[in-house]
């Protein structure tokens, strides 16, 4: 038995943590690439692209800012709901509300991650060397996932954690690819940017093993969208969402083919049968469709499991 409110909280714990990990990695990659930027006429760090990659509106004049200000804003700013600290705080708040449902080890891990970021915020050293904090956030989220798999029963609640994580991941990766394809078409982005894209998805090594270090945009797009084995590809994420939703329906004794599974199945199929050449004919339309389908899955989960009308659920 899983309370609807608890399912909701579990779903959001992993969505927020996934978002925190993604943001931390993007900051890390952007600041590292920025150190190699060309000197001279255009020496700005160009943080607008980082904001765009995170689907955020860049504040006025952000292009002229230095790394410390950026780290402050995206890592620590509690008034910015999308900062790493905000995401981890919200994940922790959700975890606090379902402490009886998750294992103590999970709570301690998420609490330790929160305290670690708060400490970094106080000590200010992260502003001079942000890499270590980014690493700590990414590792902290990975540890949470490991601890979750090792200490929590893989029942319905665990499945909701999977759904949240992979829905968020599908959206995040799709948005990144969309941005790069657009920028690539417009300005002919150099190899550095494509390298940055792979690193932003923790995909460089996996890509090289698949295609060698020969970085070709078409292959990179194919890899990040359609690879069946790589855990951060959109197709992989969509498969996980679908299978978790099928399992949930089975675990609570629903007839197969409910709305959430059907919508997730459609999303998964569009990637299963997608052809990279066709996608590249109009990548934006395709990626837009992915995002739209993902939000339909989200809405269907709410209608079926969390905010369902009481009349439909009362015993006759």
């Amino acid at each position: 038995m899983l309370l609807s409110r608890v399912a909701d909280a579990l779903y959001w714990i992993s969505r927020y943590l996934e978002r925190a990990e993604h943001t931390a990695r993007l900051i890390d990659v952007r600041l590292d690439l920025g150190l190699d930027r060309r000197r001279g006429a255009d020496e700005a760090w160009q943080f607008e692209r980082l904001y765009a990659a995170l689907r955020l509106v860049a504040p006025e004049g952000v292009g002229a800012l230095g790394p410390a200000t950026l780290v402050d804003a995206l890592m620590f700013d509690a008034s910015n709901r999308d900062s790493v600290l905000s995401c981890v705080t919200l994940a922790r708040e959700n975890a606090r509300q379902v402490r009886e449902e998750i294992s103590s080890e999970m709570w301690e891990q998420i609490n330790a991650l929160f305290l670690r970021i708060k400490q970094a915020q106080r000590e200010r050293t992260a502003l001079a060397r942000p890499h270590y904090l980014s690493r700590a956030v990414i590792e902290g989220v990975h540890l949470f996932q490991g601890v979750t798999d090792a200490t929590m029963g893989h029942g319905e609640g665990w499945q909701f954690l999977q759904v949240g994580r992979y829905i968020e991941r599908a959206g995040g990766t799709a948005a990144l690819v969309d941005l790069h394809v657009k920028a690539g078409a417009a300005a002919g982005a150099g190899p550095v940017e494509w390298l940055g894209l792979l690193r932003s998805c923790a995909a460089l090594e996996a890509y090289c093993r698949c295609y060698t270090a020969d970085l070709r945009p078409r292959r990179i797009v194919e890899f990040l969208l359609l690879n069946v084995e790589f855990p951060r590809s959109v197709r992989f994420a969509a498969a996980r969402v679908e299978s978790a939703l099928r399992t949930i329906a089975r675990q609570i004794g629903r007839a197969a083919g409910g709305r959430p599974e059907r919508l997730a199945g459609r999303l998964h199929a569009s990637l299963d049968y997608g052809q990279v050449d066709e996608i590249l004919d109009d990548p934006h339309a395709f990626l837009d469709g992915i995002t739209r389908h993902a939000s339909q899955v989200h809405a269907a989960i709410y209608q079926s499991y969390i905010m369902y009308p009481i009349e439909s659920a009362l015993p006759a």
Partner: protein, 480 residues
């Protein structure tokens, strides 16, 4: 060196848990004293840090009311355990069992026949003016006649070393999670000392609580559905609510997770609605049901009282138990024990003056500088006057308040709560303590050997409440 650690261990008129009047170590404290003597302040500081860290990472914190930041603090933990010999515990156990048995009989009587009122043992007008008396409960059958399933009785030692009851907490007593957490941490930071003593375990509390709640199930379901009802994450005891739900393996619900249909309580789960049999509520009566009590409550469940009266759900503790821990009714508990059980009370009360009685009132007003005055409806150490520590202005304020509403106050002699060695600022110093054992009343009475020992960490302070600078320490009840 002991000279350092105990250098400032002052002697007071209070009973000391470790040293007797002549300054000798009490026999049951000898191993503890030896351990502390051997330790250096640095070593103890290190243990203290370890312990504090354990509380912080486990999130064993409380939220400070009135602090807009919603700051979470750890409940201060003192390293030095409090040791209670076996024989002393047996007396406490017998006394508490007797007291709770009588209190449950009293509540049943009050909400049904009212024999004790008819016979004039407890004055009727006292009852009618009691804020926690619930008219709605008159004539309502309560499963097994168990009104109070969980009590957290506050005891203190007087100057003569005898335990007396200070307060019966019969509504939603809290703190048991700290008792369990203190034990866990103590075993981690001082396993050697713990091993030298033979301390009775307390970890079975969760199972005992579950059994107590199961005994209340109103229908013959093989597996009754039990839930813990919490006001939510903003409540200062939220950690404990989640902790107990996890210990018992039952759902932790908020009011918004529950609904009542045809006088049956359901919870909203992903698989649909599921019937609820027993609610261990950590929400006050006032907030349980907006249709019956406070209409502005968002913590409760509309229709819960009717479902309860229809016998479709059990609520622990029952509605209206606060009547029996009213500070004025408290004064009558010894008489209540004699009335229902025809026994002498094993545990004494603190002498209590009721200003609603004219001769008591005069005495109280004349001795405000010696007495502790408490508002009957308050808890948590609020609304109190501690005479010997008060200013003339504070006494005048209380004089006016007592005259305006005598029924709202009680007065007691200022107790010299016993003191226990505590590790404070690198030294061992005496601090005042109390004891709150947790009594479970199901098919039978069970009390885990121990309780929460609260410490007034401010030097000389007599207020042990966590909201007022109090902390706690582990409580070791020894095997025979």
């Amino acid at each position: 060196m002991s000279d350092n650690l105990f250098a400032d261990y002052g002697r007071h008129r209070a009973y000391d848990e470790m040293f007797d009047r002549s300054g000798d170590v009490r026999p049951h404290c000898a191993p503890l004293f030896d351990e502390l003597k051997r330790a250096s302040p640095d070593q103890l500081n290190e243990l203290q840090l370890e312990a504090d860290k354990a509380f912080l990472t486990q999130g064993i914190t409380f939220t400070v009311y009135g602090d807009e930041q919603g700051t979470e603090r750890i409940f201060p933990f003192d390293l030095v355990p409090r040791v209670i010999p076996a024989a002393e515990w047996q007396t406490l156990e017998r006394g508490l069992t007797q007291r709770l048995t009588a209190i449950n009989l009293f509540l049943k009587d009050i909400y049904h026949e009212g024999r004790i009122l008819a016979e004039g043992v407890v004055p009727r007008e006292l009852l009618q003016s009691c804020r926690h008396f619930r008219r709605e409960m008159r004539g309502v059958p309560v499963h097994g006649d168990i009104y109070v399933s969980v009590a957290g009785t506050d005891l203190v030692r007087g100057e003569d070393g005898r335990f007396v009851v200070l307060e019966d907490n019969l509504r939603v007593p809290s703190g048991v999670s700290y008792m369990l957490a203190n034990r866990e941490v103590t075993k981690q930071v001082m396993p050697g000392l713990f091993d030298r003593y033979h301390v009775r375990p307390i970890a079975q509390y969760g199972q005992l609580l579950l059994a107590t709640l199961r005994a209340l199930a109103p229908r013959a379901a093989a597996e009754p559905t039990i839930v813990v009802l919490t006001p939510g994450v903003g409540n200062s005891a939220y950690f404990e609510h989640a902790f107990l739900a996890r210990e018992m393996g039952v759902a932790l619900v908020e009011g918004r997770d529950l609904l009542v249909h045809d006088n049956v309580v359901y919870m909203r789960a992903t698989a649909g609605l599921r019937r609820v049999d027993v609610i261990y509520r950590r929400v006050d009566d006032d907030f349980l049901d907006p249709l019956a009590f406070r209409a502005d409550s968002r913590l409760g469940v509309a229709g819960l009282l009717n479902a309860y009266r229809a016998g479709n759900v059990s609520i622990a503790n029952a509605i209206g138990t606060g009547l029996a821990d009213d500070k004025a009714i408290y004064a009558f508990i010894p008489a209540i024990i004699r009335f229902y059980l025809s026994e002498e009370p094993i545990l004494a009360n603190v002498d209590t003056y009721l200003p609603s009685d004219p001769s008591d009132r005069q005495y109280v007003l004349e001795h405000l500088d010696e007495l502790v005055v408490k508002a009957v409806g308050e808890s948590g150490g609020y609304g109190m006057l501690i005479g010997p520590h008060s200013t003339a202005q504070q006494r005048d304020e209380f004089r006016a308040k007592i005259l305006a509403d005598p029924r709202n106050f009680i007065a007691q002699p200022t107790l010299a709560l016993s003191s226990s060695p505590c590790f404070v600022d690198g030294r061992v110093e005496p601090r005042h303590i109390d004891l709150r054992p947790y009594v479970l009343f199901g098919t039978n009475v069970s009390i885990v050997p121990g309780g929460l020992t609260r410490v007034a960490l401010r030097k000389g302070s007599l207020v042990v409440n966590s909201s007022q600078g109090g902390g706690s320490k582990d409580t070791w009840v020894l095997e025979d």
